[in-house]
Symmetry: C2
DNA sequence: CCAACTGTCTCACTGTCTGATACAGTAATC
DNA sequence: GATTACTGTATCAGACAGTGAGACAGTTGG
């Protein structure tokens, strides 16, 4: 379902939350879909289930999931209109990504191309 | 010179390093330019100078700065050809930024527009 | 040489990340 | 309705990273 890198320095909880966000944004997981239990997903990923629980909880706080104990976790319809912080956050993330790429020797053209490829994956909204 | 947010949860060292990378990538700081001393920049930012020193060291490890004790810190010419990790890193950062934006309710069109605005700031390469 | 500057190193403190374990809610079954 | 087997939650302990304090070491100019 999702993939993480246990050797990365980035916290596992972060990685799991980020991977789930991508799956949600790409429509790989749609509103109403049930997600695996914390213990099951943890087993698949090879981490402690508590770590998955915390990632779920974080997304629940972002109103992306509905999670209540005893019941299975489900995805919910994402929020309506974009907030100011969403926009400024996007701008900052893009600035940082572009800066690193430029310093890494990637040309502006190629950065633009890679961006378009990435963005295209979010427009499909495939639902099973 | 650069700006950080001391109230953010993100480590100060990270913020400083990221801000410097942006300044370098945008040409605000060019090869050969001298940077402020760790104590001076720290005073400006309101953080401990040791934190600035570590951020400088990190960029030096990325071969973006030359830093030796006793002498002032100078920017260096960034690397030549792009590496594989630079490209995959860019892809991952973009995926994550786009996912968060989509879930935040920002349309694909607007994401594209914001990206173009951001990218444009890196093409200017203004030098003083 | 000396003084004043530079960055580096080591230490202590604090908070976060991770995993272990006990707990509490839900649902199906008897 | 009690039981059982599953859900997620809460709390704690150990490991580790981020931060700041202070001593240290290299460089430069008087």
């Amino acid at each position: 379902m999702i993939r993480i890198d246990v050797t990365s320095a980035r916290p596992l909880e972060d990685q799991i939350a980020a991977a789930l966000r991508q799956a949600l944004a790409q429509g790989e997981i749609g509103p109403g879909d049930e997600l695996p239990s914390v213990r099951q997903l943890a087993g698949d990923l090879g981490v402690h289930w508590n770590t998955v629980a915390r990632a779920y909880r974080r997304l629940a706080d972002e109103r992306l999931l509905i999670v209540r104990r005893g019941r299975s976790v489900v995805a919910r319809e994402p929020s309506g209109q974009p907030s100011r912080v969403a926009r400024t956050g996007l701008r900052e993330q893009l600035n940082e990504a572009i800066a690193a790429a430029v310093l890494g020797g990637i040309s502006s053209d190629e950065i633009g191309r890679i961006f378009q490829e990435a963005l295209a994956r979010f427009g499909e909204r495939r639902r099973s």
